[in-house]
Structure formats: structure tokens, C-alpha cells
Symmetry: none
Subunit: 401 residues, 2 copies
């Protein structure tokens, strides 16, 4: 949670309802060949109108120049110091697929891979083996026994899986076995901390046994690569901290995982934003805070497709009408990080946001990176956003006499 | 003091004179029915002219979204971390009325109240009993004896008083006896800390004796409510920290209290801003830093009176001419927090400020929330303002070789 020790004393209950829509990879930058950012190019009548009635600004997820992953980006939006509360990939992906990960367990993200006869890595993704095949491989891995621990392997999508190691004396302070390179052997796992050598030996034994087992099959993979070893951190509960009955509506596993980890209730199993909005409608009366996640803008940005990102933003703008109709007391549109199509990956750029409420202090009339920088809230740290959202919802009282 | 350990090494004496005018509740927000903020609506020829010769910006007193009380708002302006150096209400109001509060004493803000026959609170303010009456009641309370401590009760205004408990072994870590509710009995005081049980028992004994004593009178109150138990924190001295011979000129008790607490000398007993300016003139040669407090803008904002706040700002602008004529080397106009009349209370909105000196770096030509956001100093933390003021006064030397 944000470093403000008096937060519990200033948070107050109120009858207002907050809908926070996180547009993944919302921000961009000018594509030099176009002279505009994706938001500037897009036709966004609903967002632009909202902007004229909202307090606007841009948020810096971690630090200027630092490009956040989805984890830190979202943690900051929810008011958590993204550095102090860094979440490991294993835990995040595990929670996202509903894995049970205890507070003493260690989780990792796994890839099925292909190895050449000499043991060197040929393909880190096993020729992008599809889910049908990998589910069978996961079954095989679940037969592996390692003394002193219980092993649980869960399929994610295609060549991806999650490994959860359960047992006493485990530590996530171990090195990764995915070298993120090809043409080299699978590296041995080693302990980074004194207390982690048992865990490293478990990982090495598991990896060796997996290789032997997979090599006997004809299912398209003959090795595994593990990364993102992590445990469940001790996180303040979002609902308790802000006195909210908070729900999450997301289609992708990782965002559900983050939401669950901080104590939000995941609603429904929507598979796209339209279905997410239907879930929001169906549950609108049951919660006072909704985190709704929109993914396509990030995907288009990562593909380096300027026009596709523009289209995904326009599609979002159109869908937003349905949420505006529900008239939440506070409607927030924000992003976990920027994903400029010009860079075709996450980036460090500050992310525009708007907070629409009866306290909307509107200075601008277009929703884009440059306009929002001139908004009434200027440039803030990502983790400060929730304070502003709470203030706009009449949920914070005065600090100090 | 601001978290900059090298401050003592960069502060230097110089012959320049600083006048810092704090306009209480200076900032506002757009009233949607008007489309402008109070500052934007007001006719402010002197402030606007100053702006064209000043370095301008907006200050965030505590954190974005956090609404500060007067204490944190002023502490930030004087360069103190407003969270680390949070002042209790009892101490603040006590100093403001000239109470002597030693470093081991405990002070509280008290209300005279009325209780029904069943002991439940009927009116937390005793029908807003006026000062004439409450002075008599205060005299009665001063007759109460509690073993092991000395009790001093001082009248504030109307139904308000300050209680100062003096003696060995006291601690302010006790619960309040003002439930901020009616229809319930006066809560017992209890210790929040191991070392505070004696103090809690003193408060309970005092409250019981006060009830019995007041019930014998016909002076309009038959109980007392206590809150804001606090001791005098160990604060860095403002004059020593900045090598200034600083004076405060204020009409209201709380602001005098804060000034005295950090080591400023309170000058005169002005009862309005015109008299404050006269005090400034009379003492102009004797100090090199003046904190001058203007209250009416906050009062109008708290009353939710847009036009009254506009009028109070215009009145301030007119009075400011007298200060400009004195030609201080550095003239600062700033605010402890915003008080938008639309919200009719303190708010979280950033507060415009200007620093006029020969180093004025002017980018804008109007003094309001939006313009100042575009000023050369942008958006700063409130506690950073003093550094900028000192820099504009040639009172800071280079940091590091």
C-alpha cells in the first residue's frame, strides 16, 4: 500500500460506486511517420466528452524511465508501492489459472521446449505446441515424485504451464532454468540464498526427471524451462485498506490473479470486453468498486501495429458508452503502462487517465498523452491514483487538525 | 523539516527580506454552474501583475487526493514533512490561545456539551453557548483537583476550551471522549499504549468531576467532550534551520500556535488583515522573514459561498498593494490547502503559489489554479516550497562540489 501511515484514519465509507477501467497499454508515443500518438489519431467521442467533465492527468507507474511489467503496472494502479510489493511471475500466472498457492509454496512459470540430441535448446516454445497436446504433457509431469515435496503442474495456454512446489523449507531465492536463449543447454538451478539450496535441488531433480519422461513420448516437447520462481508475498488487503467491496472483471488470467491476490472478488468468466461489460451490468448492485480490464490496446501495441491500436482504442471508446450509461459516481479510465506501437513493447511513457465524478475539474477537451499532461491533476505517481479516486468518491476525510 | 540532510550545509545568510503571505484555503475548483474557479472569476490586478514577474506553480500539501487540515497544510509550507511532524489538535489550539504547554504535558481540545437525563449526549456544542457563559464554566473546571497532576483549562471561543494536564508520567496515547455522535453516552477514555493508563484515569476522573460540577449550575452545559490529546513534538526550529529571524503575523489562534511551536516570534495582536499589514509595517526592519496569514478566503470557501470567496480574494488583492509597496526582496503568495466553495470544505486540490523576486521566472499572466500549473515551477510538494523561497532570496548555496 502507498507509504502513508495515516491512510486507515482518513479512509471513510460512503455510498458511492467506483468503476475503474484499466486499458492495458493505454499510453503511446508519437509515431514519427504519422506525427501523432495512437490516442491522438483515434476518433474517441465518448472519451473526449468525458474529458471535458473529468479531472485528468498522467501517471508514472514506477519511476520515470522505468518500463513496468503488467504486475507492477497494476499494483501501482491499486495503490500499492510496485517496488515493495513486486509479484513474481510464477505466482501471478498461477493465481490467474486458479492454482492454489500457499504462503510457503514456490511457484514458477514453465515452458515446454525442444532440445537437440546434444541437449542444447532448439526451440524455447516447443514449436508453439497447442493446448491439446500440452495438457497430456502436463499430466505426465504430475506423475513425477521428488522427495520431501509435493509437485503440482497446471496447464496455462499452448506451451505454457505453471509449477507449484509445496512442502517445508522452500525458498524462491533460486536461479531460473530458462536461459532465454537457444543453442545452449538448460542451465542448472542454483541457490541465491543460503536457505534455498534444497529448493534448487528439487528443481534440478524435477527438470531431469521431466526430460527423461518427455523424451519417451512423441508429443512435441522433450524438455522444460522454468522462470519467475516466486512465493506469495504478504500483501495488505485492498478491500480492508480502502473499505471497499471490490470486484474484478477480466478475461486474462494474470489480471484475475493480481485481483485475487489483493482480495478482490473475480466475477464471471468473460472472454472479451463486451462480456466483461455484461458481467459488470449483472453484478452492478453487489459491489462498490469494480476493476474492469481491457486488453486489446496492449496486444496491438506489442504487435507494433499503429492502426490496430487506434482501432482497438476506438472500439474501447464505443464500448465505454455502455459503462457511462450505468452512471457510476466515479468512472476512472487509466492504464497500467504505455505500449507504443512504435516501440512494439511496454514502455516507460507516462499513462493518461481521467477521473469522472461530480468533482471533475476539467481543464482539457481531448483524451491523449499531451492533453492529459495539461489536466488539472498533472503528472502523478501511479500509486497515488487510488488516493485521487477515493477523494473523488467522497471516501477520504481530512488529514490532521 | 524536509528530508534533505544537507540543508544545514546549503543554507546561507543574506541580507534579503522575505514576506510569505499564506492565503488560507487559497485554491478552489471550477464551480460547474459558473465554469470558473473563484480565482479565475475574481478581478485580481495586483496578483496578475505580480504573476508576470514571478516564478509560479502549484503545491500539493500532503499527497494527491489527501485533504489536509490547517496543521499539515501550514507545516508543509514551512518546509516540514506534514506526516512526520503531524501536530495534535490539543497542542495546536492550546498554543494558539497562549497556553503554556511543556514538553511533557498533554493537551486536548474540549467542547462543553449538553447531556440528557439518561446521560446520553444531546448537543455536542451545548447549543453553541457563547464565550461570556463559557468563561464562567471554564473557571469552574479550573477548581477541579486530580491527584498527581495540575489541571489548566483555558477558554477558546464559544463552546470550545483547551485542557492542559501537567505532571510526571503523562502520555497522549489515549482515546478521545468526544464520540462525534449524539444520543450516546460520553465514552470512557482508555490507554492506547502501556504507559498511558495513568493519563486515561486522570481524564476519566476529570470528566466525571466536571459533569458533577456543571450539573449544579444553570449555565447551559452539563458535560465535556475531549479530543485531540497531544503532546508537544520535538520539532526542528524554523529560524535555526533556515538561519532566519522569523516573525508571524496572524489574527487566528491556531496559526499563531503553529508559528510559535516552530520558533517564530508572534507579532502584535491584529484582529484582521488590515491590522496585520500595519503590524508588518511597524516591525518591517526587525525581521528578515514574515509569515502573514489571510483567513477570509477559507471561511468563505467553507461556507460554500462562491461570490463571497471571490470577494475575499479581491479584497486580499487590494490589500496586497500595501505589502508590494514595502518592496520585500521576496514576496510569496501561497496557500495551506484549497477550499473550493463548490465542496464547502478543505479539499485535496493543488494550491497555486507565486514567488516574486529578482529571480522571478515568469511564464504566465494570471494567478489561478490552471495558469499556475503552467508556471515555471510546475507542481511541487508543499514542503518543497521553502527551498524555492530560500533560493529566490539568495539564501541557499550550491549543494556538493
Amino acid at each position: 500500500m502507498i507509504d502513508f501511515e495515516y491512510l486507515p484514519e482518513v479512509v471513510q465509507s460512503s455510498s458511492t460506486k467506483i468503476v475503474m477501467v484499466v486499458v492495458d497499454g493505454l499510453g503511446g508515443m508519437k509515431d514519427p511517420s504519422v506525427g501523432k500518438t495512437e490516442l491522438q489519431m483515434a476518433n474517441l467521442p465518448n472519451l473526449d466528452l468525458l474529458t471535458t467533465q473529468s479531472s485528468c492527468g498522467v501517471s508514472v507507474p514506477v519511476l520515470p524511465g522505468i518500463t513496468p511489467g503488467s504486475g507492477p503496472g497494476h499494483m501501482a494502479l491499486f495503490g500499492y508501492d510496485p517496488v515493495k510489493y513486486l509479484l513474481g511471475r510464477g505466482v501471478l500466472e498461477g493465481f490467474g489459472i486458479g492454482a492454489e498457492i500457499g504462503t510457503n509454496d514456490v511457484a514458477a512459470r514453465g515452458n515446454f521446449c525442444t532440445l537437440k540430441d546434444d541437449g542444447n535448446i532448439l526451440d524455447r516454445r516447443a514449436n508453439r505446441i497447442v493446448s491439446n497436446q500440452s495438457v497430456e504433457l502436463v499430466d505426465l509431469l504430475n506423475d513425477i515424485q521428488v522427495d520431501g515435496v509435493n509437485i503440482n503442474v497446471l496447464p496455462v495456454i499452448d506451451y505454457r504451464f505453471v509449477l507449484v512446489i509445496n512442502g517445508p523449507g522452500l525458498s524462491p531465492k533460486i536461479s531460473e532454468t530458462d536461459p532465454q536463449l537457444i543453442g545452449v543447454p538448460i542451465p542448472k538451478c542454483f541457490a541465491k540464498d543460503e536457505g534455498a539450496s534444497f529448493t534448487a535441488s528439487v528443481v534440478n531433480e524435477f527438470t531431469d526427471k521431466a526430460k527423461k519422461l518427455l523424451q519417451k513420448t512423441n508429443l512435441g516437447a522433450n524438455g522444460i524451462l522454468l522462470r519467475g520462481f516466486s512465493g506469495v508475498p504478504n500483501l495488505p488487503n485492498f478491500c480492508d485498506s480502502y473499505r471497499l467491496n471490490a470486484a474484478a472483471i477480466a478475461s486474462y488470467p494474470m489480471y484475475k490473479g493480481i485481483a485475487e491476490l489483493i482480495g478482490m472478488k473475480n466475477l464471471g468468466t468473460p472472454s472479451n470486453f463486451k462480456e466483461e461489460i455484461a458481467v459488470l451490468k449483472a453484478n452492478y448492485d453487489s459491489h462498490d468498486f469494480f476493476f474492469v480490464h481491457y486488453k486489446p490496446a496492449d496486444s496491438a501495441g506489442e504487435d507494433g501495429n499503429f492502426l490496430q491500436k487506434v482501432a482497438s482504442l476506438e472500439e474501447f471508446d464505443e464500448s465505454l458508452k455502455e459503462i457511462i450509461k450505468m452512471s457510476p459516481d466515479v468512472l476512472v479510465v487509466c492504464g497500467d503502462h504505455s505500449t507504443p506501437s512504435y516501440i512494439n513493447s511496454h514502455s516507460w511513457h507516462a499513462v493518461p487517465f481521467l477521473i469522472n465524478s461530480k468533482y471533475g475539474d476539467a481543464y482539457i477537451d481531448a483524451f491523449d498523452e499531451l492533453s492529459c499532461l495539461k489536466g488539472s491533476l498533472g503528472r502523478i505517481k501511479g500509486e497515488e491514483l487510488m488516493l485521487l479516486v477515493m477523494a473523488h468518491a467522497d471516501k477520504l476525510t481530512k488529514f490532521g487538525p
